[in-house]
Amino acid sequence: MSHISKIEVRIDSLDALKLACHRLGFQFNQNQTTYKWFGRWVGDEPLPEGVSEEELGKCHHAIIVPECEYEIGVVKRESHYILLWDSWYRGGLKKKIGKNAGILKQAYSIEKIRAEARKRSYRITEKRTPQGIRLTLTC
């Protein structure tokens, strides 16, 4: 063992996000400009950093999650994307994608790493662990 790092994931690849949706059985709707949510901000939770109230409900692409009434908005920022979604329990998303959309971010990270590791000729194994998913890249 040589070093251990923790990484904050930033979504900057639509291709990897599409693969992540496919992995989870979600539908990625390219160029869908609105996403379903409660419809008005009630102020029960702070707005995501850098997002105004007027931006809620608007997006550049959207993700449809089966059995959920609400949808996820994919909003382009300068060089990356942010996910906007309403976590109210009736919308069903929190149950499917977890707190802070962790399940979707997990799938995104895995797909992105796998694609790059293949290019670099690593041998890749994937295993489910109690906390998440473990990828092992062997040179």
């Binding site: 063992m1 040589s2 904050e8 994931v9 707190k99 979707l104 790493i113 998913i133 473990r134 092992t136």
Partner: protein, 65 residues
Amino acid sequence: MKQIILDVSDDGEVRIETRGFAGKACLEEAQFIKDLLGKELTRNLTPAYYQDAKKKAKRYLNLCG
């Protein structure tokens, strides 16, 4: 055997661990993953990091009895 182990938790957090590398090679080898995913929040170096792969251990002979 050289390995990069990635634990991606259900809340989206990524933890990278390198095994089998000596010295700074582990940082260089894992850098592409950090560049790929985003920003490194924390880093902990383990004893293997401080081993220089090119240095050989010196042996001393006792010449004075």
